[in-house]
C-alpha cells in the first residue's frame, strides 16, 4: 500500500516536471544505486554542467568584446546589476517611508495650525487630532532618517571625489558617527580602485599618443590604433570591475540606511503606528464634517470662512501612497498581470469558437481562412490598430484599467488567440468515433454531449493550445509593452536602452534572463496542468 502511494508520488513529480528529483527519492528508497546515479547524472548533472560551461564561455567572451559602451557584461556584472535592482527597490522603500514620515509631520503641523479654525465651526470637534507623545516619537524617527540619508550621501559624495585627501575631508563633514565610519570604510576599500582608474584615464588622455599633432596624420592613426588595442580593453575591463565594486558599496549603503530607519526603538514604533491608526480613523470623520458643512452652506446660503483651511486639514489626514517609480519587481508583476489578462480574453474567445469549428466542418471551412490570415500577423502591426480603437472606444472619467494596460493586454490576446483556437478545434473534431457512438446510443442531448463527452476528450489538446498561447503571449507582451508604455518588463528594456549608460547592457541582460526564466516557469506550469488533465 505504502509503495503504491510512493510510486504515485513519483509519477506526480514527473507530471509536474520535477521528474529530475525522482532518482533521489528512489535512491533513498533503496532502489538500484547504479541506475539511479545514471539518472541523476543525466537529469541533474548534465544540465548543471552545461549551464556552467555556458557561464564560463560567456565570461571569457565578454572580456574580449569591447563595445562603445564598454565591455560586454559578463556573468558577474549581470549579477551585480541584478543586485543593484534589489538595491533600487530598497531605496524606493526608504523613500516611501520618508514620504510617510513627512505626512505625519504635516498632520501635526496642520492640526496645530488649524485647531483654532476648527473651534469656529459648528458641531463636535473630532478628538484625537494629536496623539500624545507622537511629536517626540517623530523627532526620534527624524533623526534616524537624517542619519540614513547621511549614509547614502556619503556614498554619493565619495563616489565623485577625485583624491584621497578630498575623500577624507568629505568624511569629516558628516555629523553622525555611523556615516563617518562608513565613509572611512569606503575610502579604505573602494576609493583606491576608483582613484587608480581615474589616474589611468587621465594619464592616457594626457599621453602624447592620445593627442598627437595633426601634422603627421599617419602616425596618429598608427599610434592610436596600437594604443586602442592595448589600452582600451584594459580600461574597459578595469571599468567593469569598478562598476561591480561600486555596486557592492551602493548596496551596502542602502542596506545600512534601511536598517537604521527600521531599527527604531519599539516604543517609538508603537507610537508612530498609533498615530497613523488614529489619523486613518480621523480622516473619514473630518471629511464627513467638511462635507456636512458644504451641504449646509449650500442649503442656507451662509458662507463659512476658513472652509479652505478645513479642507487643507482634511487633506493632511488623507492617506496617499508614495508616488514613486515602479521598481523592477513591480514591473514584473505588471507584466504578469497583463499577460494573464490578455491570455484570459484570448481563451474566452478561442475555446468556444474552437469547439464550434470542431463540431461543424462547415464552420471550420468558413473560419479557417480568417485564422490563416490573422495568425501570422505580428504584434507590432496589431498594436497601432488596438491603440487607436481602444483610445476611441474606451472613454471613461474614472477608468478601471489604464489605457496602456488594455492596449498591451488586447494585443497579447490577439496574438495568442490562434494556437488555442486551432488546437481546440482539432481536439474536438478528432474525438474518438467509438465514444461518439456511445453518446448516440445513450441519446445524450447536444449540451450534455458537448460538456460530458467532447470537451473532456479534447482537454489534452485544448491545454496544449493554451500552453502554446501563453508562450506566444509572453513573447508578444514584451514588444507590446515597449510601444504601449505599459509599465512592465518591456518598458524596462526600452528605458534602459534609452539610458545608454555603462549599465545599459547588463540591465537589459538581467531583463532577458528574467523574461526567460518566467517564460520557462509559465510553460512548466502549463505543461504540468496539461499532464494532469490528460488521462492515460
Amino acid at each position: 500500500m505504502k509503495d503504491e502511494a510512493f510510486y504515485r508520488w513519483i509519477t506526480f513529480l514527473k507530471k509536474i516536471r520535477f521528474g529530475w528529483l525522482a532518482p533521489f527519492f528512489l535512491l533513498l528508497k533503496g532502489e538500484d544505486p547504479k541506475t539511479q546515479c545514471k539518472a541523476i547524472f543525466s537529469g541533474v548533472m548534465m544540465p548543471i554542467f552545461s549551464i556552467l560551461l555556458f557561464l564560463w564561455i560567456w565570461d571569457l567572451a565578454s572580456k574580449e568584446i569591447v563595445t562603445k559602451f564598454g565591455t560586454v557584461p559578463g556573468p558577474r556584472q549581470v549579477w551585480s546589476a541584478w543586485k543593484s535592482l534589489g538595491n533600487e527597490t530598497r531605496l524606493e522603500r526608504i523613500k516611501a517611508l520618508e514620504h510617510q514620515h513627512r505626512a505625519r509631520e504635516k498632520r501635526i503641523v496642520s492640526a496645530k495650525k488649524y485647531k483654532e479654525v476648527l473651534n469656529n465651526f459648528p458641531g463636535e470637534m473630532p478628538t484625537g487630532l494629536l496623539s500624545p507623545g507622537t511629536e517626540d516619537a517623530l523627532s526620534t524617527s527624524s533623526d534616524a532618517f537624517q542619519q540614513a540619508n547621511e549614509l547614502l550621501e556619503v556614498y554619493n559624495k565619495i563616489s565623485i571625489t577625485l583624491s584621497k585627501e578630498e575623500a577624507q575631508s568629505v568624511a569629516a563633514l558628516f555629523q553622525y558617527e555611523t556615516s563617518r565610519q562608513y565613509a572611512e570604510k569606503v575610502i579604505q576599500q573602494a576609493l583606491p580602485l576608483e582613484i587608480r582608474h581615474r589616474e589611468r584615464v587621465e594619464a592616457l588622455r594626457m599621453a602624447p599618443e592620445w593627442n598627437p599633432s595633426p601634422d603627421d596624420p599617419d602616425k596618429v592613426v598608427e599610434s592610436k590604433s596600437a594604443l586602442k588595442k592595448s589600452e582600451s580593453k584594459k580600461l574597459a575591463r578595469e571599468k567593469a570591475i569598478l562598476l561591480i565594486e561600486r555596486q557592492r558599496y551602493a548596496t551596502e549603503a542602502t542596506k545600512a540606511a534601511y536598517a537604521l530607519i527600521t531599527s527604531l526603538p519599539k516604543s517609538v514604533r508603537t507610537l508612530l503606528a498609533q498615530s497613523d491608526k488614529s489619523a486613518s480613523k480621523l480622516y473619514p470623520e473630518l471629511k464627513a464634517w467638511h462635507e456636512n458643512l458644504l451641504a449646509e452652506e449650500a442649503a442656507t446660503g451662509v458662507k463659512y470662512a476658513g472652509k479652505v483651511k478645513l479642507k487643507m486639514l482634511v487633506k493632511a489626514f488623507e492617506y496617499k501612497p508614495y508616488p514613486g517609480k515602479d521598481t523592477y519587481f513591480a514591473q514584473i508583476a505588471t507584466s504578469l498581470k497583463t499577460v494573464f489578462f490578455g491570455f484570459c480574453i484570448a481563451s474566452l474567445i478561442a475555446i468556444p469558437i474552437g469547439i464550434i469549428c470542431g463540431l461543424s466542418p462547415n464552420m471550420n471551412n468558413a473560419i479557417n481562412p480568417l485564422i490563416q490570415i490573422f495568425k501570422p500577423v505580428s504584434p507590432l502591426a496589431w498594436l497601432p490598430i488596438v491603440m487607436i480603437l481602444v483610445g476611441a472606444l474606451y472613454v471613461s472619467d474614472d477608468p478601471m484599467f489604464e489605457l496602456s494596460f488594455l492596449n498591451s493586454a488586447i494585443t497579447v490576446a490577439l496574438c495568442s488567440l490562434w494556437p488555442t483556437l486551432v488546437n481546440t478545434s482539432l481536439g474536438v473534431s478528432s474525438t474518438d468515433k467509438d465514444i461518439m457512438n456511445v453518446a448516440k446510443v445513450l441519446k445524450l442531448g447536444w449540451y450534455k454531449k458537448v460538456t460530458k463527452v467532447i470537451i473532456p476528450s479534447a482537454m489534452p489538446l485544448i491545454f496544449t493550445g493554451l500552453r502554446l498561447s501563453l508562450g506566444v503571449g509572453w513573447m508578444v507582451l514584451i514588444a507590446a509593452e515597449m510601444l504601449a508604455q505599459n509599465p512592465g518588463l518591456g518598458k524596462f528594456v526600452w528605458d534602459m536602452f534609452q539610458n545608454g549608460s555603462s549599465e545599459t547592457l547588463s540591465m537589459i541582460m538581467v531583463a532577458v534572463f528574467t523574461i526567460g526564466i518566467i517564460g520557462f516557469m509559465l510553460d512548466t506550469i502549463m505543461l504540468s496542468l496539461q499532464e494532469l488533465v490528460s488521462f492515460d
Binding site: 459648528p122 442656507t300 470662512a305 476658513g306 487643507m312 496602456s404 508604455q485 549608460s501
Partner: protein
C-alpha cells in the same frame, strides 16, 4: 426677506441641526463674518493653494532639459505645494503628446513647438497651453567624422584642434553640391517635425544657402508631410537616444539633438559637434511644460501650484555662488543620472550641466549658458518665442496658408500663458521664495507686454522683431514669402 429675518431663519436651521443654544449659533455667524472680513486681509504666506487634483502624472523624455520637473519632484517642491507627482519616461514625442491629449498624463515636458503645432493643427490637433518654459539652449549639431574631414578640406581654418566658432554651414555647401551631382542627397537627422532641432538645423543650413526642403510645394500647393520638397539635404526624424547609433550606421551624415547625445558622439568617437544652438540663436527657447487647455481650465489652482514648484526648481538649478559657478548642477547631474530619469552616466550628463562642452576630444570649451533654466528670464513664457516658432512653421510651409500679422499675435496669446506664470510668481514673492528682480519687468499696459526686445543674436545676424512677423518671414533668402499687406491686418 430682510437680513434680520434671514439670519433668524438660518440660525433656526442651524439650531435644529446641531441642537445647540442660540448663543452658539449667533456666535458662529459672528465668527463667520469676522472670518470673512479676515479672509480679505489674510496674507497667503505659507498657505497652500486649494488644488483641485493632487495626484498627478507627468511625462518626460530622457533628456537633460527635463531637469526642472525632476528637481521639483526630488527636492520636494511639488510636495510642498501639496502635489504628489509621478514622473514617467515616454518612448517618443508623439506618444507623449498623445497621452497628454488622452488624459493619461496630466502634463508633460514638451518641445516648444509641440503645443504650438498641436494648437494650430499641424499633426495631432488639440489645444495645449504652456505656462512655463523649461529652458533655453541645450542643443547641438553633430556631423560624422567623415563629413567633418570633408568640411575641413573645404575650409582650411577648420583644420585646427580648436577651430574658431561659430562654424557656419558654408564649408558644408560644396560637399552637399558634390553629393547632388553624384545623384545622392545628403541626409541628416532631427528629433521631430515641430521640434526646435528641426528649425535650428534648417536655420543653420539655410543661412549658408543650403535648402533643407519645404513641407509644401509652393507652386502647386501640395502638402508634403516629410518636409523634403526641393531639398538639398534630406531631414528625417530619429528619436534622440538612437541618434549616435544611426550616425554610426551611416544612415545619416549628421544630426541636431539635445544633450547628452552630442557628447556621446564625442565620447564614442563617431562624430564632431560643429555648433550649438547657442551660436545659432543666443538664448533660444527649447522645452516647455505643456498641459491641455481643458485641463488647465478644470484645475486652475493646480496649474498655479505646479508652476510655483517649477519656478522654484528652475531657481535652484540656476543658483550661482559669488563667482558665478552654478552651485547645484553637480547634484542635479547626479539625480538626473538615475536610471528612472535620464539614466546616462553621471560623467556624460555632468559635462553640459556644469557648463562645459566637448567639440572634439581635444576641444573642451566652457559654455556656462549651455543649459539655462531660469536666468535671463528663461522660464518666463514669452509671446515672442511662440511667434518665432510660428514664423518658422510658415517659412518652411508647415502652415500651408498665408496668415495675417494679427493671427500670429493672437495664436501666441492662446498658447503661451504668462498670466499663470505671474500668478505663481506672485505667490512665491509673498512667500519670500522669489524677489521682484527675478521677474522680467513687464508693463501690463503696454500692447507688446510679454515680447522680448528685437534681437540679431542669430548666426546670420538677421534681426528678429516679434512685433513684425510678416516682415521677418520675408527677410529670409530661403523660405516662403508673404504678401506685405498681411502685416497690416
Amino acid at each position: 426677506m430682510t437680513s434680520i429675518q434671514y439670519i433668524t431663519t438660518h440660525s433656526n436651521r442651524v439650531r435644529k441641526k446641531h441642537k445647540k443654544g442660540r448663543l452658539y449659533t449667533l456666535s458662529i455667524i459672528y465668527i463667520a463674518c469676522l472670518g470673512m472680513l479676515g479672509g480679505f486681509t489674510h496674507k497667503v504666506h505659507g498657505e497652500l493653494l486649494d488644488v483641485e487634483k493632487d495626484e498627478l502624472t507627468f511625462g518626460f523624455i530622457k533628456l537633460t532639459d527635463c531637469a526642472p520637473l525632476v528637481i521639483a519632484k526630488e527636492k520636494l517642491f511639488f510636495e510642498e505645494e501639496g502635489l504628489d507627482v509621478k514622473l514617467e519616461a515616454q518612448a517618443n514625442w508623439k506618444i507623449l503628446l498623445d497621452r497628454v491629449i488622452s488624459g493619461e498624463l496630466d502634463g508633460a515636458h514638451m518641445l516648444a513647438g509641440q503645443p504650438i503645432g498641436a494648437t494650430i493643427g499641424f499633426g495631432t490637433q488639440a489645444h495645449i497651453i504652456t505656462p512655463y518654459s523649461l529652458d533655453y539652449n541645450g542643443n547641438g549639431i553633430t556631423v560624422s567624422k567623415e563629413l567633418w574631414e570633408r568640411m575641413q578640406s573645404n575650409d582650411e581654418a577648420l583644420k585646427s584642434p580648436t577651430p574658431k566658432h561659430p562654424i557656419t554651414a558654408d564649408s558644408l555647401k560644396p560637399e552637399v553640391e558634390a553629393r547632388k551631382t553624384k545623384g545622392d542627397t545628403m541626409r541628416m537627422g532631427m528629433v521631430f517635425p515641430v521640434s526646435t532641432h528641426n528649425y535650428e538645423i534648417r536655420y543653420w543650413l539655410a543661412a549658408a544657402g543650403i535648402r533643407p526642403g519645404y513641407y509644401l510645394d509652393i507652386a502647386s500647393g501640395a502638402i508634403d508631410t516629410t518636409g523634403t520638397t526641393d531639398a538639398d539635404v534630406l531631414l528625417s526624424v530619429t528619436p534622440p537616444p538612437q541618434m549616435p547609433a544611426t550616425l554610426e550606421a551611416k544612415t545619416i551624415d549628421g544630426y541636431c539633438v539635445g544633450e547628452p547625445w552630442n557628447q556621446q558622439a564625442v565620447a564614442r568617437g563617431i562624430g564632431v559637434p560643429v555648433t550649438t544652438n547657442y551660436d545659432i540663436w543666443k538664448n533660444n527657447p527649447e522645452k516647455v511644460f505643456g498641459v491641455t487647455s481643458q485641463w488647465a481650465k478644470e484645475n486652475p489652482n493646480t496649474i498655479i501650484a505646479i508652476t510655483k514648484a517649477l519656478i522654484r526648481a528652475g531657481m535652484w538649478l540656476d543658483e550661482q555662488d559669488s563667482s558665478g559657478v552654478y552651485k547645484n548642477r553637480h547634484e542635479a547631474a547626479r539625480i538626473l543620472s538615475r536610471p528612472e530619469y535620464v539614466g546616462a552616466d553621471y560623467a556624460v550628463i555632468k559635462n553640459s550641466m556644469t557648463g562645459y562642452f566637448y567639440f572634439q576630444s581635444t576641444d573642451k570649451r566652457p559654455m556656462p549658458d549651455f543649459n539655462v533654466f531660469f536666468n535671463h528670464h528663461a522660464s518666463y513664457p514669452w509671446y515672442s518665442d511662440c511667434v518665432w516658432f510660428l514664423t518658422q512653421m510658415r517659412r518652411w510651409g508647415q502652415i500651408p496658408q498665408s496668415k495675417s500679422a494679427s493671427w500670429y499675435h493672437e495664436t501666441a496669446k492662446k498658447i503661451y500663458r504668462p498670466d499663470i506664470y505671474m500668478a505663481a510668481a506672485k505667490h512665491l514673492m509673498e512667500e519670500d521664495y522669489m524677489k521682484k528682480e527675478q521677474l522680467p519687468a513687464i508693463d501690463e499696459d503696454d500692447t507688446w507686454a510679454g515680447y522680448r526686445p528685437p534681437t540679431n543674436d542669430f548666426i546670420d545676424g538677421n534681426q528678429y522683431d516679434a512685433r513684425k512677423p510678416i516682415e521677418y518671414i520675408n527677410s529670409f533668402k530661403i523660405g516662403i514669402k508673404e504678401e506685405i499687406q498681411l502685416s497690416k491686418q
